[in-house]
Symmetry: C2
Subunit: 280 residues, 2 copies
Amino acid sequence: MQTSTSTAHPLDEALALAPGDAPGHFTGQTTQAYWNMVGPYGGLTAATMLAAVLRHPDVLGEPVALTVNFAAAVTEGPFTVEATPVRTNRSTQHWVVSVLQSPAEGGAPQVTTTATVLMAERRETWSAADTPMPQVPPPADCEPAPPIFPVQWLRRYEMRPVRGMLPQEWDGSERDSLTQLWMRDAPARALDFPALAALADVFFPRVWRRRALRVPAGTVSMTVYFHAGSEMLARTGSGYLLGQARAQEFRNGFFDQAAQLWSESGELLATTHQIVYYKE
Amino acid sequence: MQTSTSTAHPLDEALALAPGDAPGHFTGQTTQAYWNMVGPYGGLTAATMLAAVLRHPDVLGEPVALTVNFAAAVTEGPFTVEATPVRTNRSTQHWVVSVLQSPAEGGAPQVTTTATVLMAERRETWSAADTPMPQVPPPADCEPAPPIFPVQWLRRYEMRPVRGMLPQEWDGSERDSLTQLWMRDAPARALDFPALAALADVFFPRVWRRRALRVPAGTVSMTVYFHAGSEMLARTGSGYLLGQARAQEFRNGFFDQAAQLWSESGELLATTHQIVYYKE
């Protein structure tokens, strides 16, 4: 039995990592708070891998790119994160990160998740926002939606749909794949890079909306490009993000998702892509 | 002096890899045919890393996703590619790949490039194309453009601009970042997965067009999602691809590029994203 009197945010509890047995190795523990159907919410795993890099003593700058490959489900219990800076340049740093778990039946630890991370010391330059936030009603005018199915991680996010939520009937009638929603951590929490990485994975599988069929589907690889630096994150604070996601192609078992995340004031915090397995 | 009477396509010559000193290790050699300003064309490096996976005896299925991180310039001479299958499931396989080179001044080999690759045995499923090819004139109606500057790799591609090429004057006047062009290997060559990966990196930096300023810029990370299986590649053959690229955000030293590659008949072969460093 695990008891806690902590008042830490569930995301901070889930991202807790202890130093491991070698430099850049950390040990963590899955939490029920972000449990999905057969493992932790993928966005949480992405956030955990980024958090390991951010806690490494040799880390340089701020995250610019994160790619996470979900090779196998993380199972309940302890896991190891290995974060290795493979190349450090003057203002950029490249990381390779793995999550490993020992099989229940014993034997050598196996890789469940791989990632690469690009860190950089960013400087102020000419900048331009070329993807304006869609004109949508403010969060207060959009009703919060209850979790679309009973898994824990959906309770860790406040979601206020704008358009393109799940079909009302699973009748196989085809439609577009576009979803827009306001979202933030629940309870509200100041945005940081791991939280933003986790939010990039919030969207339900595009194929469910496109087909009005709830076929088995799961993200296999996800990339997040962080346009926000820490100052833009601080400006966003615990406010809502507008998320927009659509697919470009569904082809023989895999579809892609292209998404954007803006702050409520319209700053593009991140763009993100996934390739997602689907059945049938 | 290197002489050759081979009639192999320059891409096949550039992708030549010899077995290395351990399983999954290959040795290659940079070629002048794809030389960029300070190293090989990034698309060629991406193609080389994918080729190493495809030549590994344990490879499963066909490529679905490829992420390449350009950590440092590859220098002229030999290099090693290390391709490791870190997780093999029933129908998917996850790889971690590195390019290493020994510094000219001696010492341990250093990582120049990292990559992750997702392979999968794809099955025929319900599919949908949700990103129609833009209506553009056919390749024969678009004049081939000469290389925009004198580097070797640009001579390895036939490019027929449709719209959004480089500004006529570098006068700093802002415009959109959209480019469309017909393209294929030069000389023409039947499309395969490495060639498609290389073509995904063909677009000049979006910031040059957006700003009409030729600031220093270079791709730092690139992801390619392959929607085409080998049958679709065979249908494409040595025909033209329509490439379309645009940026979503330019922010403090990095911009992203989202791009699509269609076959001439309008099949979406791949979608691809980059995060690109730029100065000033």
